[in-house]
Every structure is written in C-alpha cells, then in structure tokens.
Symmetry: C2
Subunit: 468 residues, 2 copies
C-alpha cells in the first residue's frame, strides 16, 4: 500500500516544480528564525540536568522520562504521555584494570554493555594483540587462555563512516574470542579522541559460545599496550568487571504532538532517544536529538497556522541496548502506522547539519530535492538515499514508512560518544540551532505539503536478520 505522489503541478511533483509559497515561505521563516536563536539547548540541559545518566531501566532513565513529559506539557504539546516499555537491564559495577608485566600501569577500561562480569579477583593472562577480527580468526590455538586485545583504530570522518566498520570489533569480537578459548577480551575504544576515557557500547554474545568478559580500553591505554607488545616479551594484564544482568525494568517512550489542522490522523514522526549510556549524561547521545526534535516541533506550533498533518515527537526508550522502545512503538501503534507519512530521526549529536539519509519509494527523490533546496543556505542539502533513517525507526520498516535520518557533521562526535565526556558542557547552542533549523523546515514541508512521500516498496521492507 503506497500513498502516491500528486500529479504534476502540485507540490511534491518532482523537479523542477517548486514548493508552493504557502509551504516554502513558512519553511524559510522557521529556518531563519531558529538560526537566529532557539531554545533547543535549553531542552538538552533540562533533560540532562534533571536526570543525569539514563541507562535503560534505571532511576535516571525514569527521571529522564519524567523530565521530558513535564517539558512537553509545559511547552503546550498535545497528548503528552509516557508509553510503557519493558527494557532489558544491566548494571556496570566495579571496573579495574592494570598491566602486571612487564611494568606496572593502571588501565582505564570499561565493560561493554551486556558483558558478563569477571570473578571477583578478576582475570589475568598474557595478552594477544591482534589488529583486526580477521587476524583474530586466523590465530587459532594461540588465542586459548589469553586475554585478546583487538587494536583496531577508528578513522575520523565527517560522515561517521569510520564507526560502522570499527564497531564490528565491539559486536563480534567477544564471541569470536570466546569461541577460540580466550579468557577475556579488551578492545581499543571505538572513538577518535585521546582521552583516558573508554567508550562503552552494546555487545551481544552469539548463541552457544563461551561468554567471556569484554571491556574497552581508552585509546591512550590501547596505545600503551601496543607499545609494550612491540618492545617484545609477554605483556600480562589483569582486569575486574563487576557488571551483570538484572531483571527487565520499566521504561517508556515519551510522546507529544502538534495536532494537524486538516489531517490530524496523518503523522510526521520526529524521533530521538531519551535513554543514554551511564558513563556520561548522554547530552550529545541523544539529549541533543531530543532537544532538536522538541524545539523543531515547538517552533512549528508557533507558526501562524498549524501544518496540515500532525507532528508527533517520539523520544524512544532504550536505543542503546536493544531498541526495545522502537520495537514497542511499532507494536503499540501498529494500527496507525499506515497513516505515518514520514519519520525523521535525529541521533548523531549536535551537528552542524549536512542533510538527510532517506529510505522511501524512488519517487520520493524529487520532493526531497525540493526540501534540500530549502536547506542549501545552511549547508544541509546533502541527500543520501538507501539508508535507514535511524536505529529507533528500524521497526517501522515493515510498514514502509518513508524514513529520514538527519546527517550531521560527526567529525568530533566520536570524541565523546559513549564516554564520560558526553555531558552538557559539550553542547554549542548555535550549532544545535542549525540542526534544529534543518529538521524543523523539513518536518514542516512534510506535514504541510498536499502530497506525501512515496512509501518504501513492499519488497524492501524486510527487517535485517539481527532485528528479527
């Protein structure tokens, strides 16, 4: 079932037709007004200062939900609610690491999310350094009894492409090392900074492999280990992780709306996630996204005329450790997903904005170019077709909902990502405003245009294997 584009001459009819003035002029006003100064950073601060770290299922997470609900109500959103989601929970516990030979060093490390703990006395073994998963796989029997150290750097890029490749080490390394008989695994943090602050992130054990404790070393500590290995002779490490799974706990998706004036049942979803890792306060990941979507919707609501369709802000639960919020949303709202005309996710920090990734029917390309033209003056007119809009939107795929992910300059993002350094002081309000402007103008056009984007073709709606 695909809602089709309008005929030529109407808006969204493909290039070179321009957006009608009634759509374009308010979009430009939104864009320029937000660039002149918005409150997006205020919302980031309200969430982070009120709740602190928001690990799924923790008191901080619930405080984040409460803060977001209060904020949306205070700002006049309609239908504000916390939609209950049960989330898997995991607690970090004590973390210590040290080099015991050839020389004494303290290691800054942190458990990967979902790792088993070590025995209370820790694990100690000679390390085996490998530069890649391929090298690890090739080392065979040499792995047995060792602590594997996977020393794969992440490259710094503006589009964040270095992350996906490097993150394979985090997701697949522990199972591969466990299968080969390692007693523990340490990875070089997936990040681009040089601080003694390790980067956590989710991992998952494959079925049937021995579950070994897995931690990330800060990048300076990974470089220390690499130097010690290069000097020759055995390098022994001991580390202790007190982390452990705990019973599923309650969290929530936070929802609030700007009700459409003409087609209130048709929905443009603006998504971000309210949860965060525990080490920092999730200011960039993803209170920034929450601030962007809340402020974008608030600015749209402040226009002289509400848009044709409803703007629905959804702050998802548990993006970081299993996408339980995204899955629950798709289930809870199954009956209305056909009336979701677009979903946009903001989950790449504060920006600046570069454009959008998008996944929709091929005829969506032309109207998206019209939107991009509006964003060219702020450098946000890049369109990257064929990618999912964002992790929280993954479970919307079977419904064919056109999805957009805000592309933002991620050159610095992975300096802070999943570390203790992800705190409010890293937010630059002016940069956040630029991303907010891009998202608001885009959301407005999608909610106001007479036509809608072509939906994802039926044959391209299958969830990837890891989400099924």
């Amino acid at each position: 079932m695909v809602l089709c584009l309008l005929a030529a001459g109407a808006s969204f009819a493909g290039e070179p037709a321009a957006l009608p003035d009634s759509v374009r002029a308010p979009a430009e006003k939104l864009r320029d007004g937000i660039l002149a100064g918005s409150r997006a950073a205020d919302w980031v601060r309200e969430i982070t200062d009120a709740a602190g770290p928001r690990m799924p299922g923790t008191p901080g997470d619930r405080a984040g939900v409460a803060a977001a609900v209060a904020l949306l109500k205070a700002q006049g959103f309609a239908g504000v609610r916390a939609e209950r989601v049960m989330v898997p929970a995991w607690a970090r516990g004590v973390e210590t690491g040290e080099v015991s030979a050839p020389s004494p060093h303290v290691l800054a490390l942190t458990a990967l999310g979902g790792s088993v703990g070590t025995p209370p006395a820790g694990v100690e073994a000679e390390i085996l350094r490998v530069a890649s998963l391929e090298e690890l796989g090739a080392r065979g029997e040499a792995v047995r009894g060792r602590i594997v150290f996977i020393d794969r750097p992440m490259s710094r890029t503006s589009d964040g492409t270095g992350y996906g490749d490097a993150a394979q080490v985090r997701s697949r390394g522990p199972s591969l090392a466990g299968r080969l008989g390692a007693v523990g695994v340490l990875i070089r943090s997936i990040g681009t900074d040089d601080n003694r602050l390790p980067h956590t992130g989710a991992m998952r054990y494959e079925k049937g492999v021995p579950q070994i404790p897995a931690a990330a070393l800060s990048i300076p500590d990974a470089e220390l280990l690499a130097r010690l290995v290069r000097r020759g002779g055995p390098v022994r490490v001991r580390f202790t992780l007190g982390c452990h799974g705990i019973p599923d706990a309650e969290s929530a998706n936070v929802v609030g709306e700007i009700v459409g004036r003409d087609k209130p049942d048709e929905i443009v979803l603006l998504g971000a996630h309210i949860d965060s890792w525990d080490l920092g306060e999730g200011a960039l990941d993803d209170a920034a996204g929450c601030g962007i979507v809340i402020e974008a919707a608030r600015q749209i609501a402040a226009l002289p005329r509400r848009p044709r369709r409803t703007i629905r802000v959804v702050l998802f639960a548990n993006e970081e450790a299993g996408l339980a919020g995204g899955k629950a949303y798709a289930e809870d709202h199954a009956a209305e997903l056909e009336r979701h005309v677009a979903a946009i996710e903001s989950d790449l920090g504060q920006g600046p904005p570069l454009g959008f990734s998008w996944d929709a029917g091929p005829n969506a390309a032309a109207p998206l170019k019209e939107i991009a033209a509006l964003l060219a003056p702020i450098g946000a007119d890049h369109l990257a077709p064929g990618e999912a809009g964002g992790a929280d939107l993954s479970y919307l795929l079977p419904s064919g909902i056109p999805s957009l992910g805000m592309l933002q300059d991620a050159t610095q993002y992975f300096d802070y990502h999943h570390t203790a350094n992800d705190t409010f002081d890293k937010i630059d309000p002016k940069i956040l405003d630029r991303s907010t402007a891009a998202l608001a103008a885009t959301a407005w056009v999608l909610a106001e245009s007479s036509g809608v984007l072509e939906r994802i073709p039926a044959e391209k709606r299958e969830l990837p294997a890891w989400l099924r």
Copy 2:
C-alpha cells in the same frame, strides 16, 4: 660569595659583545642538530612505559628511578647514581561522588594530594558554592556543616600565569573551609580542559584547623554543580575518599654527568623531576623535562669537544608532594654548591620553548641576552628576570646559585596537568625537540664560557616562609 663576570672583551661581558666563535658555533650546531631530530621523546617513553605512574615512595616511583639510572648508564653518562631520599607517602584509595539532590548525577572527582579520607560511608551535605577564597571567608556561619564548593575558573594563558592564582584555592581552600566548620571541600579543578578527568595536586592543612576531606571536581562536573545551584533549591552531594597517609618511603634523586674537560668541579645542573602524580603517567609532568635534560646533556656529550665545566643531570624525587628531593640534594651536596655555576629546570611540559625565567645577580642580564640571541631563531629568546628557576631548585637559593627555568608555551599544558590524561601519547617529539634545542644550547654556553653568571645577591637568598 659571588663569582664575578669577566672583564670586558671576554665572553659574558655584557652587550653588545658577542659570544666567541668557540662558544657560539657549537651552540648553534647543537640547536640546529636537535631541531632536525633528537631522541628526547624516546627517553620520555622509556621512563613512562617502564614505570607508569611514579607517586613518591611507590613501586612505580622506584621503577622510574631504576629506569632513569639504566638509561643514563646506557647513554654513557658518568657517575650515574640514585641518591636516596626519604619521601612522605600518601595513598589515594576509593573515590566516589554523586549529586543526591535535586537530581541524580555521578561526579568525577579525585582527592587532593595529602587530603584526609572520609568515613567509609562518605560525607553528605548541602553544598555552599563560592566563587573565590574571599567569598568563602566572607560567608562565616553559613559555611558550618556544608560541603564547600569553590568554583574558581583558571584562565588559559601561554605563560601559565593563570595557574598560580587558581592554585591558591587548592592550597588554602581546605584549611579555610575547615576553620569555618565545613565538613568537606570540593574545588573546581585547576585546569583548562573540558574533560571528565579531575586535576589532583598537593594541599597541606594549616596547623590547628580541623582537617576536612578535600577533592577536585572535573571541570564539567563543577559546571554541572554551578548550574544546579543556579536553578535554586538545595543541592546535596555525597562523596567518599579512601585516601590516607602512609609511612615515609624510600625514593631517590637520579644523577648523571658529562664531566667537564677543564673545570670538572664546576657544575651546570640540569634539573627535572622523576616523580609524578598517580592518575596519569607524568609524561608531560615531568618525564618531558627528564627527556629534555637527558637529551640536551647527551647531545652536548656528542660534540667534538666536551664543555669546560661539568653538566650534571639531576632528576629530582618528590617534586609533587613536598620537594623532598630538592631539599635532600641541597643537603647532600652542600659542600659543592658554591661550585654550581648555574642550575636550569625543565618542568613545564613539552613546549614549545619561549625563553627562560632567571634569578641571579643583576650583571647576569647581559650574558643571558647573549644566550637568548642564540635562541631567537626558535622563538625562545624571552627572558623573565626575578622568578625562581623551578620548584626543584628552591633549596639552592641560599647558595645563590644562578637559576633558570625554561619557559615553555603552556597554552595546552593545563589541559593535562595532574590528570589521568598525562600520558605518553600526548608527547609530540618535534615540539619536545624544540625545547631540547633551547635547553642544550643554553647549557652548553653556561658550561663552556670562560666567565660565569653573577650569583644571586646575598640579601635575596632567603627561602620563602613555606619552604622553611
């Protein structure tokens, strides 16, 4: 007793007389050869990788001494020895901090060196934020029962001047707060970064005041507390410090020499300190200085002709927590201090070099200008009279030894100073080479010139009160 300058016409006779070719040409060769590439960074790495953190009296400290002794011997220094020094010792222990109201936050904090610990359950109280020691003193009874939070920022400067003012908070804050009845004190870290890595540093309780636990908050955490205070309502904090004094322990000053060809009993001392704080590995503070002085001396030794006087490298024990090494050196070498013709300290990180602070007789100004002229091509020709050369040299003052402190660009230094981030990866070998070049050329001229610098006038040799 002052060794006087030579008569006019000889070297060091004051401007505009130039250095004789026999002095200047090797100095230029040293300078330019080191700039082309030296091994200074290798020595920093050897010390930090071999020993890790080098808190006075710890195994790491002894490993640092052993590594330095081995290095000096391997590089052909004469008279290499570890001169025993007893140092006060202190151990850090567990450290936790949290905001308990109005919202839950984890605080990144670390005990100030020398602090007493808290009870095992920690201290918890409402905080009282003050912006300065003056404001703290003025708050009187309002301080009683509170955890005082001294929120004084340090300014970023190239000459490090922001440090001295801000560090007053660290040294005097705990005693002032204790006298007024506070139950604990938290200071904004004395630093210029925005990492969740607190800056430690020495403090000392004044006699007769209640000793309360004292810790530094990372700068983002200090900014969080300030924001929470601004929101209004009580802000409660709990923190736990397991730190405690331990019995005095053994450490050592490491000494090695390039013996002078003509006046081997006359000494140009090149100083740095081998100890470090425990949070990082003291790569910048002060393995960098060790690397600079070792390499400078080694490069001088590699010249076709050894200098007239002896170059003595001294890597001092326990600069960070009481200057026990500097004091022991002055006592152990009392008989030969009259034959120390100059002492140069390198303890401001890696550089780039800007020049020298100096303390000597007024007639030393002219010959120092001649040296500075040699350093102008590398930007290191600034001379700052009237300041001590460096903390390790403090106890040389009563002997009137002309002392120089290498001035280095400290714009970034206090991003790392006394934090976990002070690790070898922060060393840039090319920048370190520039500082090494400046120090080597200076040391050569002082060791080779026929004359020597005028000593500090007798009336200006009194130790400051806090060192007596």
